[in-house]
Symmetry: C2
Subunit: 408 residues, 2 copies
Amino acid sequence: MKSSTITVARTNAFVATFDVSPAETGSLDGLRFAVKDAIDVAGWKTGCGNPTWRDSHPPAVAHAVCVEQLLRAGARCVGKTICDELAFSLLGENHFYGTPLNPCAPDRVPGGSSSGSASAVACGLVDFALGTDTGGSTRVPASNCGVWGFRPSHGFVSLAGVNPLAPSFDTVGVLARNADLLANVGLVLLAGAQVPPKKPATIHLIREAFALADADVQTALSEPVRFLRDLFRERVQESSLCDLAADEVGSSFETWAETFCTIQWAEIKSCLGTWIADAKPEFGPDIAASFELTNQLDRRRVAGAVERREQYFRSLHDFLGPHDLLCIPTTPALATRKGDPPARSANSSGYYPRTLALTCIAGIGRLPQVSIPIAHVGGVPIGLSLLARHRQDAFLLEVAKSVEQVCG
Amino acid sequence: MKSSTITVARTNAFVATFDVSPAETGSLDGLRFAVKDAIDVAGWKTGCGNPTWRDSHPPAVAHAVCVEQLLRAGARCVGKTICDELAFSLLGENHFYGTPLNPCAPDRVPGGSSSGSASAVACGLVDFALGTDTGGSTRVPASNCGVWGFRPSHGFVSLAGVNPLAPSFDTVGVLARNADLLANVGLVLLAGAQVPPKKPATIHLIREAFALADADVQTALSEPVRFLRDLFRERVQESSLCDLAADEVGSSFETWAETFCTIQWAEIKSCLGTWIADAKPEFGPDIAASFELTNQLDRRRVAGAVERREQYFRSLHDFLGPHDLLCIPTTPALATRKGDPPARSANSSGYYPRTLALTCIAGIGRLPQVSIPIAHVGGVPIGLSLLARHRQDAFLLEVAKSVEQVCG
C-alpha cells in the first residue's frame, strides 16, 4: 500500500506537486514533505480548498514561516495537499476537489480538514506533512488514516502565512508515519531543545472520554490501554472530567464542546465572514451549512464563553503536573463512510458534537496532543491520544517515541 | 486639555465617530471607548491606516471578539482611531490621514502605530481605547502621550477580527487614563479572575535598559525609580541583561532586537507581502521603506531567529518568579518632533533599534507589560514600564493599581 503501489493521482491527495529544495542541511535531511493548501508556499496560490478563494487570491510571495523552518532543517517540499473548504470540517470530502484516499479504508473518509496531508502520509507518498488544527483538523485525519498526528501547544508555532480560521485555537499540525519523525518535525517547528526521555508521572485515562466512544472503538482501544498499563504500570489511573473542571458545569463534555464552538464560530465569522459576505463564494452543501452556524450564533454569548474557556484552561493547567498526561480516544467513532456526511448541527449524539467533545480538550486547554495509530476495527484505523500540559510538547513527543519503541 | 477644551476634529484622533451601545451591563458600565482602525467594528471598514487597504476591503460584518467582550461588559464604542499604515511603525505620523494630537507635546509625534487611540485617551475624548501591539504599538504611544498602556501576555486575548501583522508577536493592547480602568479593561479581555493584591517578590531594574536611554530620560526616570524603592524597599534591585539571557550572545540588546526584527519582518512579509505585491498600494515614504526591509531579509535566517527567540523566552520564564517584575524605560527617548521621522534602518544608536531593544523584551518573552505615565522632561511625557512573567497579567495589573494609588 506504499508509494510503489499507490500513484499520486490515485490518492487524490495533492492539489499540486512540485519540488522546493531544502535551504540547508539539518535534522530533516533527505525527508520529503507536503503542505496543506491552507499554508503558503512561495509562488503557489493558497487555495484553502475552495475555488472562489483560490480565484480571488494571488500566489503567495513568501513561504509560511513553518515551511521556511522545515526547508532550513533539510527537508524537501514536494507538494500542496487538498483540504476541506477554508479548513472548516472534520470529514475530508471536498465538494470541488474530491476525497483523498484513506488507504486503510478506501470506502471511508480520510477525515479533515487536513485530508490530503493525512492521505499523502498514509499512502507513503511523503515522509511527513503539515496540516492545521483548530478543532481537530490534524488529529481526526491522523486517527482515520492510521498515521501519527501532532497538535502543538497553542501559540508556540508560527502562524505567519497560514490562513486564519479561529485564532484562539489555530495551530500548525504535523502528520507523520512514525513517532521519531513526528518528534523531529515537531521540535523543528517548536524550535525547542530536545528533552531527555522521562517517564510520565501519571497518565489519566479520562473515563467520560472512553464512555463517549462507540462500543467497537472502546473494544479496539482496550488492548492499547492495557499496553499502556503494562508499560507504565501504576502510573496509569482512571480519572474523571470532574477532576479537570473548575466547576459543576464543566463536568459535562457538552459544556466544553459548547464553549469551544461558541468561540470558534464567533472567531470564524470575525476572520472569514467579511470575505464571504463580499465574495459570495460557492460552497459545498455541508460547508455552507457549517458557515450558516456562524451566522446564527448569538454573539452576546461569546464573552461568557471566553470566560469559561479561560476557567477550564486554568483548571487543566493546575490539574496537570509537568509530566502528567491525559489519555483519550482521538475520535469517538470510526471514519464515516464516504458520501454520507453527518449533519453538522445535530443533537449531542451526532458525529460532530461527540468528536468535538474530545478534540476540544486540547483546544480549550491550549494543550499539545499526539494521536497514536495503535488500533483498528476490522482494518479501519482508530487513534489513541495522549495530551500533556501546556508547553510540555517536547516531553509529550518523547513519550510518544517510547510508546512506539515498545509497541512498534 | 480634556474633552471640554479639545474638540474631536482638532485631535485628528478618529477616522470615524459613531455610537455602538453596550450589549449588556457589567464592570465597564458608563465607559466610552475607541478602537484602533486595525480592529473590526461591524458595519465599518477596517482601513488599517492605508487608503488602498481601505478601498480594497469591504465593511466588517462582525465585531472583533475583543470589541464584543467590551460591549458585553457595559462599555460604549464611540469611534475608530487613526493608526499607522498596516500598523508597521512606532511614530504615529500617517502620510494620508495626518498626525493625531499629542496634547502634552503638540509639536511631537503621538507615537504609533496606535496613535489615534493614545491621542483620544490623552485628550480625554474617551475613557479608554483599544490598540494593537506587535513591536511596541500600544506601549510607545502610551509613553509618548502620557497615558497608561498595557500589552497582555501573547496568546491570551482573542485576535479574531484584528488585522494580522506578525502573529508570533501580535497582541491587542489597552490605553487608559488611569490604572484602575486599565486593569478593569485588561481583565475583561483576558476573561480572567481578579487576583488579590500581592506585593512583588523582586523588581529587577535592568541596568542595560536604563543605560540605553538618553540622559534626560534617565534623569526624568530617576525620581519614579526612587519612588519604587521607597514603596517596595529591598525588593527593588539592579539586575543585568546577562541574568535574563540564556547565553553570551543574548547578553546584548542588539541580539535581542535583531532576533525580534528577523522574525517580525519575515512574518510581516508572510502575512501582508502577497497583498502588497498584488494590490501595489501607495505607501507613505517611511512605511514604504519599512516594507522594503521585509523584502531584503534573507529568509534563511528566520529559523535560527525562531530558535533564539524560544531560547530567550525560556530563560526569561525560568528567571522570573510568579511575582517578580522587570522594570525598564518604556522608550529610550522622548517622542520625536513632528515632520522629522528617524530612519527605519539605522545603526544601533538610531531611534528604531534603540526603541525596539526595549520593546522586544515583552515580544520575545510573551510577557505582559504596563507602561506607567509617571515622568516627563520639560512637560514631554515618558513612561516607566513594569513587565511580569508570562500569564501573570492580573498580578501585574494589580501592582500597577497599587503604584497609582501611592503616586497618584
